[in-house]
């Protein structure tokens, strides 16, 4: 197991290096000169040239790559072209919204999906199963921004239980912050939970049909015992895969929900960076997101191996 984890870590590092190279060069070849963009249309050639020098844009490609990477490793992401502030500050403010929000939404999603999926599978074709499947279909079909607005209408405008948007920060305590993230987390979690519940159900139905479940029943286990002790753990592999994908999506894909609730998150930062051609912001944030995704993949891999002994021998 230890060897397996070590091997996965090595592959994680190699993937990171490869990803950083790709991100760096792709962004470098994108047309558009950040210096001329920053100086505006009226700027003189000399002024732009001076800025390029100042930003280090004239150094050779590999030198800029090295300095970018060594900066990243020291927590120095460079300075935003548009905001003229260190990017680490920009990210620092937002990561404490996006990260907790992603975890919150994911936790909600799992909390709903696991029991719902298990019940649906255990009572296959029952009224409960049919209604759960119908509800999850609806959950996937409803656009989450629309659902978010309904939540705001009901919980914030009609009943004043939650605020309609914005984020109070973590200074007033954990629960105040969590309360501020609750509505966005629910709107993000709804489609995710619906997908996860369906995956859970179908995966569990597959494993319930396996020969070893029949063997377990022949040993004297009841239907329920066979499900909990034998089918469930085997059904977790596809579920873990989806959880990994969902987390990656939640980290960066929540721009619309961030907009609905006026949350300054990572998603909005990337969006701004792209529209304003603030390439250094885009580059750094994308690198950060890639790091998060690779890390999650790594954790999912480790989780696979915990679930299934066949995967423990290094690949």
């Amino acid at each position: 197991m230890l060897v397996f984890i070590l091997k996965r870590m090595i592959s994680l590092l190699l993937t990171l290096v490869a990803a950083s190279v790709v991100i760096f060069f792709v962004i470098e070849v994108v047309p558009g000169d950040p210096a001329s963009f920053m100086m505006g249309f009226e700027a003189s050639e000399e002024a732009i040239e001076a800025l390029r020098e100042q930003l280090g844009l004239n150094a050779p490609l590999w030198e800029r790559y090295i300095s970018w990477i060594s900066g990243l490793l020291q927590g120095d992401f460079g300075t935003s072209y548009t905001y003229k502030v260190p990017i680490s500050d920009l990210i620092g403010d937002r990561i404490w919204i996006s990260l907790p929000l992603a975890f919150y939404a994911l936790a909600l999603s799992m909390l709903i999906a696991f029991p719902v999926g298990v019940i649906a599978a255990a009572k296959r074709n029952s009224a409960a199963d049919v209604s759960i499947m119908g509800a999850t279909q609806l959950g996937i079909a409803i656009p989450n921004f629309w659902f978010a607005m309904i939540l705001v209408l009901f919980f914030a405008i009609q009943n004043h239980w939650f605020s309609a948007g914005g984020f109070p920060g973590w200074d007033d305590g954990f629960w105040v912050g969590m309360k501020g993230l609750t509505l966005p987390a629910i709107s993000l979690a709804l489609p995710q939970a619906s997908i996860l519940a369906r995956v859970m159900r179908s995966s569990l139905l597959d494993t319930l049909d396996e020969d070893y479940v029949r063997t377990a029943r022949a040993k004297g286990l009841s239907r329920r015992q066979a499900l909990w002790r034998h089918a469930l753990r085997n059904a977790m592999i596809p579920v873990l895969t989806i959880i990994g994908l969902q987390f990656s999506f939640l980290m960066a894909g929540s721009v619309i929900i961030e907009k609905v609730f006026f949350l300054p998150g990572i998603g909005s930062l990337v969006f701004l960076g792209i529209t304003q051609r603030d390439l250094i912001v885009v580059k750094s944030v994308v690198m950060l997101l890639v790091f998060a995704v690779i890390l999650v993949t790594f954790l999912v891999d480790i989780a696979y191996a915990f679930v299934d002994p066949r995967l423990r021998k290094g690949r």
């Binding site: 396996e210 029949r214 063997t215 022949a218 040993k219 002994p309």
Partner: protein, 535 residues
């Protein structure tokens, strides 16, 4: 009073009648063999005893264990009974164990679930039970996972789970069908030993008459949900009454008649395999180390003459399927050469050469595209020729008639046919290009004995009439003996013995061939042994 008495058992699943008035009984310490082909209801009888039937089933009649009616029991009472009083073993050892739990835990679970012992005691009993099924702790510690064991070893674990609480009755549903002959012999010996030691009753369900002839005290022959004949083993075999029993008996030893004017030209070589080596790349353990190769086929040479039927036998993993793939030009070889009609076979050989060698695979269900009609399925090999001949229809019709099907079957889909009919269609597909050599890769292994006999007859007749050569690959020695002229015995990638089929089977030279033949159950030998024991 018998240990288990089944009276007038009928079973319906939905509207389909599965069992009808089944009467059976088993005594303690006795082995009852239930024989039947697929769909005969033998497995459903077993599942009825366990009350593990598919949903929508309704059963009527009586199943009594030591006088106690099982059909009146509710689910909770049945749970207490399963694993405790009745144990069950299934056919497929590769999937019968939970892959994510250790073998020790899985055996101990039988004991724990019935609350018969504390956790520590349960593990101790599990350990002893694993010893009883000959999986000693020093070689097979309880912390092993199923994927670390072979098929035979896994079946031992399944047996250990079933007998951990020393049940009164053990049901074994085709326990050795998925195993090699040598492993089968070991598992059957083990079951016999356990029955003798514990005095439990054993119901042994199988399609293989030879297995029950050797092992069972009583047998029951089932057909379409009805017990057609039952009684003491020797007397049933010696005095068969029911026509179906007789058919089954003659089919299981069936040797097709060969034409008198059959010609085998060993000088006209169709296929020549010379010093062939096939390596599989091993698993890459490191990014910087070359993976070690696994040699699946090691320096194999043989040839097949025109009209000759050559058998290739060996147990699973011996390399026979790997060799087949190379002969078909599907896999590259790492040494030696393969010639078809004097032209080299490799992965990019011309289609016209491929047309000369056709193949029939084992699984009649998986080897057809279900969305195509038979016409298109059978004529598909014409793609090899680049264009379809004008008389494609007539040729398909001819091929179908040749394999005993009808012209009208062209317009049907494959799901409308039984396993035996599908295998006939597969043979028609192989015949359509009028090849000289057909590779039959376990082509009759998935078929019931009576169907198998028909297909063997068909193959023999086709070879005699059309001068076809066969490479007949099988793990089933009886079948190979029945249809081939010459046989190759393969083990660990090497041909260990080669010769005229009758010579090899009557007078094996190599130790491995002797072991294989010794392990293969044989009806006549078993019955003769019984008779001599009686006198």
């Amino acid at each position: 009073m018998s240990l288990l008495t089944i009276k007038d058992l009928s079973l319906k699943i939905g509207d389909a009648e599965i069992l009808e008035d089944v009467d059976l009984s088993v005594d303690a310490g006795e082995i009852l063999g239930i024989i039947g082909e697929s769909g005969s209801g033998k497995s459903m009888t077993a599942l009825s005893i366990m009350q593990l039937l598919p949903s929508g089933s309704t059963s009527a009649g009586s199943i009594r264990l030591d006088g106690e009616e099982l059909l009146d029991r509710n689910e909770k009472q049945m749970c207490a009974l399963r694993g405790n009083d009745i144990g069950m073993i299934f056919q497929e050892p590769m999937t019968a164990l939970n892959p994510v739990k250790t073998i020790g835990d899985q055996v101990a679970e039988t004991i724990l679930i019935h609350g018969s012992a504390s956790r520590g005691e349960a593990r101790e009993i599990a350990q002893q039970t694993l010893e009883r099924v000959e999986l000693p702790a020093d070689k097979f510690p309880m912390g092993r996972y199923p994927h670390e064991l072979s098929g035979g070893q896994r079946q031992r674990v399944v047996i250990a789970m079933a007998i951990a609480l020393r049940p009164r009755l053990l049901i074994a549903d085709e326990p050795t069908t998925a195993l090699d002959v040598t492993t089968q012999a070991q598992i059957l010996t083990l079951l016999k030993k356990l029955v003798d030691e514990d005095g439990m009753g054993l119901i042994l369900i199988t399609h293989d008459l030879a297995v029950v002839a050797d092992l069972a005290d009583h047998i029951a022959i089932m057909q379409k949900g009805v017990v057609v004949e039952a009684g003491e083993t020797l007397s049933v075999f010696r005095h068969m009454q029911h026509p179906y029993s007789k058919t089954l008996f003659s089919a299981s030893n069936h040797v097709p008649k060969r034409a008198a004017n059959r010609t085998i030209d060993r000088d006209d070589i169709v296929l020549r395999v010379n010093g062939v080596v096939r390596d599989y790349p091993g698993q890459r353990v490191s990014l910087f180390k070359k993976p070690e190769a696994f040699r699946a086929v090691d320096n194999v040479s043989f040839s097949i003459g025109r009209g000759e039927n050559v058998g290739l036998v060996g147990e699973s993993g011996c390399g026979k399927s790997t060799l087949t793939r190379s002969i078909l030009g599907l896999n590259p070889i790492q040494g030696g050469e393969i010639d078809l009609f004097g032209q080299p076979v490799n992965t990019d050989m011309p289609n016209s050469l491929r047309a000369g060698i056709q193949v029939v695979f084992q699984d009649p269900y998986g080897s057809f595209n279900p969305r195509w009609k038979v016409d298109r399925l059978v004529s598909e090999p014409f793609y090899l020729m680049g264009s379809f001949p004008k008389d494609t229809h007539q040729r398909v019709a001819k091929a179908l008639v040749e394999v005993g099907m009808e012209e009208a079957d062209m317009d049907k889909y494959i799901h409308e046919f039984s396993g035996g009919q599908r295998q006939r269609i597969a043979i028609a597909r192989a015949l359509i290009l009028e090849p000289d050599l057909i590779v039959l890769d376990e082509a009759v292994s998935a078929l019931d004995v009576s169907i198998r006999a028909q297909i063997l007859d068909l193959l023999a007749e086709l070879s005699d009439r059309l001068g076809l050569s066969y490479l007949f690959i099988s793990h089933d020695l009886g079948v190979v003996r029945a249809i081939t002229d010459r046989v190759l015995v393969m083990r660990d990638g090497v041909i260990v013995e080669e010769g005229d089929s009758q010579d090899v089977f009557n007078n094996p030279q190599h130790e491995y061939t002797k072991a294989l033949l010794g392990a293969a159950p044989d009806i006549e030998q078993a019955l003769a042994a019984r008779e001599s024991a009686k006198n």
